[in-house]
Symmetry: C2
């Protein structure tokens, strides 16, 4: 007997038929003798509809009211799943964020979970063999008692937080893909599904644009050591292996992965823009003069490269911002031109960031150097490079994205 | 300065444009210096959609889960209206049933309001000039903490209960008609809107099928002396009289109505079925033998007429049941034939009940007799009669309904 959290996203609960499919997944685990808490998202399309109404009601809406409106989507799904479960003979009840409660910060629209009370759920597992159906994506602010939401993908975080609170053996994330891949299979058909991936690698992958899990949920899993299993809601009997294991990816501690690859995955993002500030004085304080005003404008600067100046007097500074913030960034910099003292700006939104991730990099030198050589051989120009302990990223022309991803995928032996 | 509750039904908040219209109604009252609590229903169609999903999920659904699902409709509207109000500069916040709280019984699906806490609303009227936007139709069970709903039309009851809790000067019910009429204007074009109607009369009208207000809301208004004003959400400037009063009907204490008519209104219902039990033994206990089994089957018996028996041995008993329960009633009676000892049953679903209501009947004799004469003159056969202190009802063939209503409407001087 194990204690499980099962999380189902919007496409998995899109209509009553799919909710029925979810109920059968739950019944299977209950019949196997497990204690189960289910976390559900809103039916797909519903959150967008609710958000659309909020925007139509007033362009600048109160985030607390926005949260009250959009949280209703998960409330509907949790009630419907409880009804469906009872209809097939499984004892169940729904729990809204405020009922458990799931206490959060008051950052409405992107609140952080502070505490989940799992006592009542555990009691009901024991006394009534009752499945808990918890509304994902939502909580209640601990002081004001108002409904909060956790931001897009927040139900993943709800699931991991509930798993931590009830000391679950595993948190199963049922989604419309059957696991985490070495890279996007739409770009690289030879991408492989990973059996296991370490929390830190998954954190990088999620941060770099792999949309499988909300970043915060992986952080929470890492901190509370919640094993997260990503699998498909729609797998068929023939997908199950002879030992009864469905396809999927386990996100776990580094130590639980016996054969660690040097490189685990390749991520990429085209939502980047590059800005180069030309001929700035090469003296202390210039970086602050550039990045201070951008930070004040809440613009997230990512890769930063400063060339060594040739004349010892001026230098060039290149960095990336989200493509959506490109025009605004240029405006902010031009306004600060007097303080910064640059000659001119140039930039491009036609760039992409390709990242190579692997815990093995820690103990293997020269991993990045191989990539630079392979890309050069393909005539792909690298505009900027950043590295960290377990990943490195290169900024390239957007048109080379797919070629670069495929090249690196082969280079590091990730092809199946 | 007054303190007002304003209630808006589903058609009044059907989309964002209509919610904006509602917001302007609220702003008008706020600008006039009033303290305002708004009670809203779900956007029209939403409750039906949610109910449909519950039924599709499982035919016999847990009423507690059903309530969690359907209560989400009002949650959406309250948040959207709060956003819209803030968008036009009116301080506002939404309140769900569990937040105020609105405590109810645990009769999920048709719960009764037990208590509404208005303290926080009054405090915020004073300290922040904040409009309270309260989700109608819902509450929370006082012990279990689960969401309850009040049944169809429950938002009317929410509005009156909130009005009682905050000691409102008036509860304005905005709806898609502009008041309470002497009878259904679709049947009698000369029906007049009533300026005022007494609680007791309104209670009879609502119970007899006039769909303007939920019966329970009128009861609550009567008990707590909440003046209820029924008016249209869609009235135009030219509808307002020179004193600034919009068209509508005030439901108030009998004493507040200076010129009380003998008859106030005519109600009718075609959802009736008549059953006659022929040749039952005319002895004590026979009524119990008939109506006991029907009550056990939760069938609501309405009009009952027992003829005086001619032979002192057997008699005929005629009564009405809801048309939907007709077949079931016949089944129940046939099953109990041995105990009751009747000869045979006959009946019809092709009947209608026409009711005449007026507090003035208390002090005026012969009101019903005039009706019997007028109907006889039109060759309308009366199958059964019941009377109470302030109303009487006749059961007639359904095909004569409109003629009977028009005849009585003229007879009592209700035509405009």
């Amino acid at each position: 007997m194990a204690r499980l959290v099962m999380k189902f996203g919007g496409t998995s609960v899109a209509d009553i038929d799919r909710i029925r499919n979810v109920a059968h997944h739950v019944k299977r685990e209950v019949d196997a003798g497990h204690e189960v808490a289910v976390v559900v998202s809103a039916m797909s399309g519903k959150t967008n509809e609710l958000v659309g109404w909020c925007k139509a009601a007033a362009p600048l809406h109160d985030a607390r009211e926005y949260d009250a409106v959009v949280a209703s989507g998960e409330q509907v799904t949790s009630g419907l799943l409880a009804i469906t479960l009872e209809g097939i003979g499984v004892n169940a009840r729904s729990w809204q964020g405020w009922q458990l409660p799931i206490l959060t910060s008051n950052a409405h629209g992107s609140a952080r979970i502070l505490d989940v009370n799992g006592t009542e759920l555990i009691k009901r597992f024991k006394e009534r063999k009752e499945v808990a159906v918890v509304s994902g994506f939502q909580g209640i602010h601990k002081d004001t008692g108002r409904i909060t939401t956790l931001g897009r993908g927040g139900s993943d975080t709800s699931a991991v937080a509930v798993a931590a609170a009830i000391h679950a053996d595993r948190c199963d994330i049922y989604t419309d893909v059957d696991g985490v891949y070495t890279t996007d299979p739409r770009v690289v058909p030879r991408a492989r599904r990973l059996d296991k991936i370490a929390f830190e690698e998954m954190l990088e992958l999620a941060s770099l644009g792999a949309k499988v899990l909300q970043v915060r949920s992986v952080e929470l899993g890492m901190v509370h050591k919640v094993r997260i299993f990503v699998r498909s809601s729609f797998d068929k009997p023939e997908d199950i292996d002879p030992h009864g294991n469905p396809p999927g990816t386990l996100i776990c501690d580094e130590e639980d992965i016996v054969e660690q690859q040097v490189v685990t995955g390749i991520a990429f993002s085209k939502d980047e823009a590059q800005i180069s500030v030309r001929h700035v004085p090469d003296k202390p304080g210039v970086a602050a003069a550039i990045f201070g005003p951008l930070a004040d404008a809440s613009i997230n600067v990512d890769m930063i490269v400063q060339n060594v100046s040739a004349d010892n007097a001026t230098t060039d500074l290149t960095f990336t911002v989200p493509a959506a913030d490109y025009q605004r960034s240029v405006g902010v910099l031009n306004k600060a031109k007097g303080t910064i003292g640059f000659d001119h700006l140039d930039g491009s939104t036609d760039v992409a960031k390709v990242s190579v991730i692997g815990i093995g990099m820690r103990s293997h030198a020269g991993v990045a150097a191989q990539a630079f050589a392979a890309l050069a051989k393909r005539n792909i120009n690298i505009r900027a490079i950043t590295t960290s302990e377990i990943k490195f990223s290169v900024l390239i022309d957007a048109e080379y994205t797919e070629l670069a991803v495929r090249t690196l995928h082969s280079l590091y032996g990730l092809d199946k």
